[in-house]
């Protein structure tokens, strides 16, 4: 089952590569650099998806005390941090040729950076508590605080400053992108989501084995 998921993710990523480099047209103003979008945007989607799942799994853990929910939260947070890192790195590589700078304290860059440190903190809590049950409980509380903090972070950072191009996909009215770009992007969305699912399933399995070995 896991293996099938893994193969599906690989197939999706291959299709995404073909779509992103082969089918999607070269963007007029930015040129080929714009193709980083097919990595950048799906990564940030996976990051938010991962943290939403951390939130839900944390709530379930506190309510039911199911070790499975804790493992899911743990695995999802790790994968989320990874994809937040990919988002920041790919954004920096995209920013250098288009904005002329690797990093700027723009609203959305800042909120993703804060997201990154929030969840690195979340993962740190787990390593700093000796009793695994207590570690799971503390992590769940931090996971809930972090998730509810995200909207506040967004508002505050948005008012603080904004420079980023407005969202081009999810907004009122018809999408302004050419259909080929849109399709290529959507294929990558699916591929990255599959990859996320595969990583999480694999990591949950690994955490289970780790806990069995320690018990």
């Amino acid at each position: 089952m896991t293996r099938i998921l893994g193969w599906l993710a690989i197939l999706g990523l291959l299709a995404g590569l073909v779509m992103g480099f082969g089918v999607a047209p070269r963007e007029l103003t930015q040129g080929n650099v714009q193709r980083i979008m097919y990595l950048h945007v799906p990564s940030v989607w996976v990051a938010y998806l991962a943290f939403a799942i951390v939130f839900v799994a944390s709530l379930v853990y506190l309510a039911r005390r199911a070790p499975g929910a804790d493992r899911l939260a743990h695995a999802s947070a790790e994968v989320g941090v990874l994809f937040t890192g990919i988002t920041i790195a790919s954004g920096a590589i995209w920013g250098k040729p288009t904005w002329g700078t690797w990093w700027t304290w723009d609203a959305r860059l800042t909120s993703v950076a804060i997201l990154f440190v929030l969840y690195v903190g979340y993962l740190l809590v787990r390593t700093m508590v000796d009793d695994p049950e207590r570690g799971a409980r503390y992590a769940a509380v931090v996971g809930i605080v972090a998730a509810l903090d995200i909207p506040l972070v967004h508002f505050s950072v948005y008012w603080w400053r904004t420079l980023h191009q407005p969202p081009s996909l999810i907004k009122p009215g018809a999408p302004t992108m050419p259909p080929e770009i849109l399709v290529a992007l959507l294929v990558n969305f699916v591929a990255f989501t599959l990859l996320y699912a595969y990583f999480v399933v694999k990591r949950v399995w690994l955490l289970e084995r780790e806990q069995e070995a320690l018990a």
Binding site: G121, L124, V125, R137, V141, V145, L148, L152, V157, W159
Partner: protein, 225 residues
């Protein structure tokens, strides 16, 4: 015993302990004075530059003092073996959270008041006119800071490297509060009315409410065992 009464007892206990031991307050005040020195030495005597960065420096002082002060409260409970007492207290653990929050808030506000006074005296600032606005902004910001700080402080008291983990957990969560208060403080110090920063104040109120509700609901899980 009612919820409010139990919260009050916890807060009063903290105040009483502090009044008799004078451990945290005394040292924290001394720390505040030292911070003033540090700011003076790092920023130099240029008054123009100081007034430009004053809101940020002020909050840097509050945060540093707050991190040290808030981190202490639950560690003290552990050191004096009072943790079990808190655990055994009957009823909703939210009351203990509120009581601890009140104690922490009081401690932070006291240090902040003294820090502001020291700034006014040593940097020759006229803050009398802006004091009411400043009090509102600082009060709202401190409440948000203390609300999460109390929750996380209870947690990190039981972790390894707690002095390190506490700020590492608390600071990222506090980014919205920090941005809002520094921006609002900036406006207030520049003599603008509070209405001009209404959106920041609304954000602070929203943050305070969210943090306190999370604290009340989740404190049970932090305290247990």
């Amino acid at each position: 015993m009612s919820f409010a009464r139990r919260a009050w007892i916890v807060a009063w206990k903290d105040v009483l302990v502090e009044r008799r031991s004078k451990q945290t307050t005394g040292t924290l005040l001394f720390f505040a004075v030292l911070l003033l020195f540090v700011f003076q030495f790092t920023l130099g005597p240029d008054r123009e530059r100081l007034t430009a960065v004053l809101p940020g420096v002020l909050w840097l002082g509050f945060i540093l003092a707050g991190l040290l002060g808030l981190g202490r409260t639950f560690v003290a409970e552990c050191e004096h073996d009072c943790w079990e007492g808190l655990l055994l207290a009957p009823g909703d653990k939210g009351a203990i959270y509120l009581g601890k929050l009140a104690g922490n808030l009081l401690l932070m506000l006291a240090v902040e008041a003294i820090l502001v006074a020291l700034f006014a005296i040593f940097f020759n600032l006229d803050l009398v006119g802006v004091l009411p606005g400043l009090a509102v902004v600082v009060g709202l910001g401190t409440l948000g800071f203390a609300a999460v700080g109390t929750l996380f402080g209870a947690m990190t008291a039981h972790t390894r490297a707690r002095e390190l983990l506490f700020p590492v957990l608390l600071l990222p969560v506090q980014v919205p509060v920090l941005l809002a208060t520094v921006k609002a403080t900036e406006a207030v110090l520049a003599g603008q009315p509070l209405a001009s920063v209404a959106h920041w104040l609304q954000l602070l109120v929203a943050a305070d409410v969210i943090y306190i509700v999370i604290g009340l609901l989740s404190f049970d899980f932090v305290l247990e065992g």
